[in-house]
Amino acid sequence: MANAKGLTETGNTVIGQSILISGKLSGDEDLTVRGRVEGELSLSHTLIVEPSGVVKANVSVKNAIVSGVVVGNITATESVELTREGRMVGDINAPRVIIVDGASFRGRIDMGEAEPGRQASERPVSRPVVRAAPTLPSRPMIPAPSRAMPAPQPVRAPPPPPPPPARPAPPPAPVAKAKPVPPPPPARPATKPAPPPPPPPVTVAAGGKKKVMLKKRGR
């Protein structure tokens, strides 16, 4: 009976809520953790840590989606996402890191410095989506995001002309203003290889510059 049940779900590994695995775990398929895994975990696919899941391990995967608890370092070849319920202590090393409002995280993040031309062209595809979620909180709560997401915030800080929360009266006006702000639009389209003479747009920090580029491409 139960045997048949198992067979129907072939190919998807689930670590149930009451299960504890300690040691090394490796594989070439998606893994869903609802229980505990301790030690070392390496997958060539996606790791999903559900809210009841606890992973105390060094993790190396393609993608990781954390809704539970992870203590340890995660190295992902694609992306790491901390969802609203996710809690993590450790370092993240991945080209895309997504931290959603409500997630808690302590540690370092290394997205690998963007090489001027190429990596940038890879990123915008998914980034705008990533950014959109935290930027437009559907709920009225304003102070929450600043606390929950330490990483993206400083990037957002430099272009502060539109502080919508401050003035409730003219809400659409600042938004409209904000968009035309990046003034050099046709200068470097995505197709051009990185131009060696760095065009100094303003005295914006490296982080701020990146952000401007992203916005432009996202639209």
Binding site: A2, N3, K5, G6, L7, E9, T10, G11, N12, T13, V14, I15, G16, Q17, S18, I19, L20, I21, S22, G23, K24, L25, S26, G27, D28, E29, L31, R34, G35, G39
Partner: protein, 107 residues
């Protein structure tokens, strides 16, 4: 109750313990202790000592099995190790090498 499945491409080297059924389609080395049933499916390979309530083996097991209720060796399984359980079933076609001890005072 939630069902735990170790998929066919997964390799675990270490210890697994828990209070629920476990289905193994992949490879597990080390030790398994459960309070429920263990199913080693056709593609499953276990090189571990096993302590559970029930065990059903259709794949390969190398190691000692101690079950508080029942051990069942299905027709295509290959088991090397000692088995201790009050009830032991060995189907036609199963291959087994080791000692059997049904003299366990359980039930």
């Amino acid at each position: 109750m939630a069902n735990t499945i170790i998929g066919s491409s997964i390799i675990i080297d270490g210890e697994i313990s828990g209070d629920e059924d476990l289905v193994i389609q992949g490879t597990v080395k080390g030790k398994i202790s459960l309070r429920e049933s263990l199913f080693v499916e056709g593609s499953g390979v276990v090189e571990a000592d096993i302590e559970t309530q029930n065990v059903e083996v259709a794949g390969r097991v190398t190691g000692n099995i101690a079950a508080s209720d029942k051990v069942e060796l299905k027709s295509d399984c290959r088991v090397v190790g000692d088995i201790r359980a009050p009830r032991i079933l060995i189907a036609d076609g199963a291959s087994f090498k080791g000692n059997v001890d049904m003299d366990v005072k359980e039930r």
